[in-house]
Amino acid sequence: MRIKVAYCILTSCTGCKISFLDMHEKILDVLEKIDIVYSQMIQDHREVPECDLIFVEGSISTDEDYKEALELRKKAKYLVAVGACACFGGIPAMRNFYSTDEILDSTYSQKKGRYTGPNELLPKVKSLSSVIDVDFEIPGCPPLPENFIEVIDNYPNFDNIKLPTKTLCVECDLKKEKLLSPIREFTSLKINDPYEVDDTDMCFLERGVLCMGIATRSGCGGRCVGMQVPCRGCFGPPPQEGSEDQGAGMISAVASILPTGRLIAKEDILGLVYRYSLSMITNLQIKRTNEGGNKDE
């Protein structure tokens, strides 16, 4: 029996879907195991049927997203949240810095409350996982194509999938010295712009450049740091209990190793540490007062 699979997209960039297609020739093997019953981007089916497995990409940004999420939960035996937006809000959640009125007024340049749009923007963008129960999460912006294959191969025993859980620093090949030794000094006496420092094989934090790796879940293979570009946290916080707040994790780590005074005035600290996970702190209440999103209710 082939697994009946649907791929659904909420408010998102469809990058995760492209990552799915980036299995390239392996997709032909995967198609032997699964039967894609719904995928708006590559097929014409207009209704999601009851199915075994639904991949859902994207954040909950409009009233339609919210309704669709609840409906998908009912239709799926197993539901997997795909990508940064579904798992922890992702970049679209950066609009949570503002109210919807501010956003609509600036974008559609009209008198207050006048422009309504084709659907209703929710006051705050939420992650899929904070609205419904999900059976498994594959993080990343975007996740790796292999992650999809693992989910399909291990269906329905997702516990067998061992995604990395430590911080990106374990995957990063850049050299760390001061970070690993018990010293009381700062790793750098100055905080630098990433593009004003020399290329070396030293850790970015030791070069005085803000790198989110220290507060970010591993699993991406360290591709950004490998390209001499600091991490920006797209795999979200590590999954351990208590480290949900990626931004706080980053700030507390950096405070002890860099002279952070300058950050307050010069750096866009919130836009850096919460770039992918702002919805996790702006929606802290939601998980607790979640009305009716649970599968078991």
């Binding site: 990552s19 981007m41 409906e71 600036s106």
Partner: protein, 484 residues
């Protein structure tokens, strides 16, 4: 997820299939049963311009790719170009070549995805199938499908090598690129690229023949007489990475050209309450009527004189013999897209063989302060503009993002209306076949809806309600952007 719900005289199609992003089509019939209104509603909006404010300007190339997962490279590079200007740097040749290479690979990936996975299924099977999708190719031509997959795999790999990641790359930074490719990577890529040239030629001509063989009835996408806008090189050849943006009328007469912030002189926009995506128009002088613009492969073809590479050049001759340069047939867009795949691959080989790719500097150290920068680029779907302003601290104070699909939005709505009016005349019900006609009239633009719902809030704005009446007229210009 409702299929064609009929309510009185309103017909709704949702979701619109085989395109990037979420949309709903709504038709209204008059009492005689004729289509009187057609709306193509874009259903998502993410407020990028708003939350880019206050972010560090140097981070733009890292944030804006998330506008679109299909063409992240375009947003990445155009942001990098705008931030180069903010950093007051002219990037080294080596960096420019790396970026252009990444861009060519993106054209191959994005166009291939559209042609073979989204559009082609309409042309290889009858309209009876429940879903026309790429799996049909498994039955009709598995060999071609394997070659297509190999080509896309190569393109995504080139982006990975030059950009760090195939989706949402990060190597283009203000002042150049963060890390150049190694000699081993280069020779690996050259080998595969050269092998792919004849294979690609073969599969592209196959599509050409398939497109030719389509019954005339299907080709009757309504003709559209619009202005066209695209980038062009100094020698009037095809330019996708750098050049002047030119606007021509339907007969090919040049109406305007710009390189930087003066794009603001030529475009005005309207807002419709039923779509998050706005409606931009070419603005003529005071008092004259504004016209619809089209961007993308067909618009580019009308604007460039020639293509400098061998096989794509040959394809262009064939195209112009078949349709004429200033064709009003929208169906020709498919062919124009096909020949761009060939050009991009041939250009990939050229760049890989250029020794400037491997020598000298690839970045200039910099720090962004108060400045204004405009990036222009031809994305796969058409002209793309990012316009940023930064303050002393290097933070963004104002941003403007103009996306290809947004430029095409009025033309998409017009095409949809014309096709629906013809296909559903005399109260004809929507059946599977009609639905495919209607959807393929939209699909031919390869609309990328995740990209499209963006503001550019510095123009004359007319708000029009669903009856087409103007309900508000705002003349609003940003003081800062205007000054540039």
């Amino acid at each position: 997820m409702k299929e064609e719900i009929k309510m009185n005289n309103i017909i709704t199609i949702e979701p619109v299939s085989r395109l990037e992003g979420k949309a709903r089509i709504t038709f209204e019939r008059d009492n005689q049963g004729e289509i009187s209104r057609a709306e193509f509603s874009v259903l998502e909006f993410r407020a990028f311009e708003k939350f880019l404010e206050g972010r560090m300007a140097r981070e733009m190339p890292r944030i804006t790719p998330r506008i679109c997962g299909i063409c992240p490279v375009s947003h990445h590079l155009v942001s990098a170009k705008a931030t180069d200007m903010l950093a007051r740097t002219v990037i080294p040749v080596r960096a420019a070549l790396h970026r252009e290479l990444m861009h060519m690979a993106q054209f191959i990936h994005s166009h291939t995805l559209h042609v073979y996975f989204l559009a082609l299924p309409d042309f290889i099977d009858s309209f009876k199938a429940e879903s026309n999708d790429f799996r049909l190719l498994l039955k009709t031509d598995p060999d071609m499908l394997k070659k297509v997959i190999r080509l896309r795999k190569f393109a995504q790999y080139v982006i990975e090598v030059t950009g760090g990641k195939a989706i949402h790359p990060m190597s283009a930074i203000p002042g150049g690129i963060s890390k150049p490719m190694s000699e081993e990577q280069r020779s690996e890529l050259i080998k595969e690229a050269k092998e792919l040239v004849p294979i690609t030629k073969e599969i592209l001509y196959k599509v050409w023949d398939l497109l030719d063989a389509v019954p005339d009835k299907l080709k009757q996408y309504e003709t559209l007489e619009t202005h066209s806008m695209a980038m062009i090189s100094k020698n009037n050849t095809i330019a996708l990475y750098d050049g002047e943006v030119v606007i021509i009328d339907k007969n090919g007469k040049r109406k305007a050209g710009y390189r930087g912030a003066s794009y603001q002189k030529y475009v005005e926009e309207r807002t419709m309450e039923w779509s998050w995506t706005k409606f931009p128009y070419f603005r003529k002088d005071e008092g004259e009527e504004s016209s619809i613009l089209q961007v993308g492969p067909l618009a580019r073809q009308k604007i460039y004189d020639s293509i400098p590479t061998a096989i794509a050049g040959e394809m262009l001759d064939k195209f112009r013999e078949q349709f004429g340069r200033y064709t009003v047939e929208n169906y020709a867009t498919h062919y124009a897209r096909v020949l761009e795949i060939m050009y991009s691959l041939e250009r990939t080989v050229e760049i890989l063989e250029d020794d400037n790719l491997m020598n000298n500097d690839y970045k200039i150290k910099n720090k962004i302060t108060k400045a204004s920068g405009v990036g222009l680029l031809e994305a796969p779907r058409g002209t793309l503009i990012h316009h940023f302003e930064s303050n002393e601290d290097g933070r963004i104070t104002n941003s403007n993002i103009l996306v290809a699909t947004t430029f095409n939005n009025p033309a998409i709505n017009l095409a949809l209306f014309k096709v629906a009016k013809a296909q559903m005349a005399g109260g004809k019900e929507i059946d599977n076949e009609t639905l495919r006609y209607i959807e393929s009239s939209v699909r031919i633009f390869d609309p990328c809806l995740t990209c499209s719902s963006h503001s550019f809030n510095n123009f004359t704005i007319k708000v029009i309600n669903h009856r087409g009446e103007t309900i508000e007229h705002v003349q609003e210009r940003s003081k800062d952007l205007r000054a540039t």
